[in-house]
Point group: none
Amino acid sequence: MTAIISIGNEILLGRTLNSNLYYLADKLAGIGLPVDYAITIKDDPEEIKRALTHCWNSFDVVITTGGLGPTADDITKQCIAEFFGSSLVFDEEIWNYVVSLFSRRNMKAPEINRNQAMVPTNFKALSNKLGTAPGLFYEAEQKSFFALPGVPIEMKELFEDHMQSILVNKYHKETVLIRNIHTAGVSESALAELMRNLQPPEGLSLAWLPQTGRVDIRLYGTNQDQINYFETQLIELIGKHVWAFDAGSPACVLHEQLYNSGLKLAVAESCTGGLLSRLITDNSGCSDYFMGGVVSYHNDLKTRILGITEELLEEHGAVSEEVARAMLVGLFKLHRLDLGIAITGIAGPEGGSPDKPVGTVCFAYRCKGEVWSHKLILTGNREMIRIKAAEHALISMIQKLGSR
Amino acid sequence: MTAIISIGNEILLGRTLNSNLYYLADKLAGIGLPVDYAITIKDDPEEIKRALTHCWNSFDVVITTGGLGPTADDITKQCIAEFFGSSLVFDEEIWNYVVSLFSRRNMKAPEINRNQAMVPTNFKALSNKLGTAPGLFYEAEQKSFFALPGVPIEMKELFEDHMQSILVNKYHKETVLIRNIHTAGVSESALAELMRNLQPPEGLSLAWLPQTGRVDIRLYGTNQDQINYFETQLIELIGKHVWAFDAGSPACVLHEQLYNSGLKLAVAESCTGGLLSRLITDNSGCSDYFMGGVVSYHNDLKTRILGITEELLEEHGAVSEEVARAMLVGLFKLHRLDLGIAITGIAGPEGGSPDKPVGTVCFAYRCKGEVWSHKLILTGNREMIRIKAAEHALISMIQKLGSR
C-alpha cells in the first residue's frame, strides 16, 4: 500500500509534467509495491499536513517529492518535522558536504543553504550525490516515509542509491511480472467482446492500454505459470489481432527484424508526409537497412521522382491502390531494395469526396519479390489518421516478415 | 477552487505520464481557475467515491478524467451516477452517433458500447467528435462537475468544444491575458542573465517554458497595458533571440507565412529522416505550398535522386555544408521551387568522430534565389538533436521570410 505526495505549484499550474510520479510508480510496481494513491498539492503547510495525515494513516509506504530546496517556498521539511513530532537539528556532515559542492565551483556556500543541513530528529538523511538537498527517511514498524527532492535527476539518484534497497529489504515482496500483448486493427470494445467469457483469475490483473489505432493489453501478476496459462487462453480468442509481445513501437519491432538482416528498405509516402520515415529513423542504427524515402506530397513529385504517369493519376486518382503500387515500382527503380512501402491517402480535414472520404488510405508493399496492396478507411482527425496509416504500414510489414 | 481527479491504474503503475493534468492545469490557469488539488486513483469504486466526496465538498470545479470506455474496468460513470444520486438512462442520440462511428468503418457497433450511451439523470452529455465516450457535465449552484474520457486527444477536444465556454460563462472571472514570446538559439539561464535587472511588476507573472532547443516566455496578467509595457522592456534586452509571438510551433508559423503566398517549398533531409517533412505536413492545407521532399538517408539516394557526386561526398564527407548545398541544388532540379531546405548531420549516438562529433548538423537554404548555409553542433540525445535540427531549419526560414 503505497502513496505518493507531489508538492509543487508548477505541476498544478500546468508548467511541469509530473515525471517523478511516472518514474517512481514504474519502479515501485517493479519491486512489488505498486502505487495506490497519488496526490499533487501546493506548497502550502495546511495542504501538506492534510495530505500527510491521510496518507500516513492509510498507507504503508508514503513518499513526498518536492519542496526540499533552499528558497522560501520550500517548506516541506518543516511541515514533515511538525507532523512527525520531530525538531530540526543541524547536521555537520551534511553541511560540510554542501560546502564542498560549492567550493568545487569556487564558490562559498550561501547562508540560505544552511537549512538544507537541518535534519528532523528520528529521521535518517539520505545522501544526495547530485544536489544539495538530502533525502529523508523515517520508519515506524511496518511503515516507511521518504521525502525526496523534486528535481527529477536527484530524485532518481536517491531512489536508486537508497530507497530501493531499503524497501526491498524491509518488505521483500514478490516481484510483479508483466506481459504486454500488442494488438492492431481491432477496437478495444471488439477485443473485449471476443474475450467476454474469459476472466482473469485471482492474483492476475488485466489492463487495457489503447494507443492511436491499436490496443495493448497488459497482464500483471506474481506467478509466471498463471500468466502463461492465461495468455494461452487469450491468444486462442484474439491471436489473429496480435502483432507482438513485450515490444516497443511498431518501428522498434521492425528495427529488430531488419537490423543485421542484410535486407534493404525504402518508403514512398504521400499523406503521411515524412512520418513513416521519421518513425523508422527514430531507431539509432537504422542506416543498416533503411535507404531513405520520397515524400511525394505533390503529384508532380510522384511523376518526377517516382515516374508515375499523368494518365495513371488521372485514371485512378492519386489515392488508389494502382498509384500506390506504381509508387512502389518507382521506388525500386531508384535503388536495389528488398522491401518497400508506399502510402497515398487523404489525411483531411479537407480533400475528401463521397467516393473517397477523408481517411481513405491506400497501401502497397513489396517484401522479397512479393507485392500486395490494400485500402483502408481510417477514422479520427488529421494527426490520428496519419499515425494510424504509418503504423498500419509498419505492422503489415512486421507480420509479413514474421510469417516467413 | 478547482480539483482534478485522474482515474486510471496505468498512471499509478507508471505506464502513462499524466499529460491530461498538464494540459488541463495550463488551460484552467489561463481562464482564471487554477488547479488547487490533483489526485490520481485506481479504477476502484471506493476510491472514486472517496475522492468525489472530498473534492465535491471542498472545491467549486471538479473534473475527472478516465474510465469512460466501454470495458469492464471503466467504472467511472457508474460511480459518478451513484455519488450524485442519478440513475443511468439510455440516450438514443448518443447511441445513434456511436453506431454511425462504427458504420463508417463498415462495422456493427458492439453491444458492449451500449453503455457509452447511458447518461446519468440531471447530467448533460457533451458530444465527443473523436471517440465513442461523451463527456458528462453536472452543475449545482456555484459548483460544476465534469467527467472527461482519458484519451488525451478526446479530452482536449471536449475541453475546447464544451468545457472552456461553460466555465468562462459561469464564473466570468477576470480573463487572464497571456502573451507568449518565443525565443530560439539561447539557453534559459542565458536569457535570465540578460533579464536580471528586469522584474515583473505586481500583477504580472512571468513563466519560463523550456522546449527542446528553444525557450518560450509567457507573461500572465489582467492588464493589457501593463503587459505591453513590460514586453517592450523585455524585447530591448532579448529581442534578437525572439522569432515569434503567440505562435504555435515553428511549422505553424511557416505555414502562416507560406499559405496562399504562391511560393513553393521542398526539402531534402538526411539525419532528420522525415521529421522536417512531417512537421510541415502536420498542417492541413500545406499542399498549397509544400511539394514534398527526399529522405536521402543513405548516400546512394543522395546520388541517385539528388545527383550528389561521389567525389563531393568523398572530398567533404556527407555531413558538410558543401553536401547540404549540393542537396539543395539537386532538389531544385526536381521541380520549380521558390524555397528549399537541406539538412545533413549526425544524430547519434553512433557515427561521431573527433572532427565531426555527434550533433554536428549542416544546413543549406534557398529563399527566392538567395542561398545560405551554416553548421551547428547540437547537444542532447538522438531525439533531441533531430528535433532541434528540424526546428532550427524552420526558424531560419521563418526569420528570412519575415525580414524581407
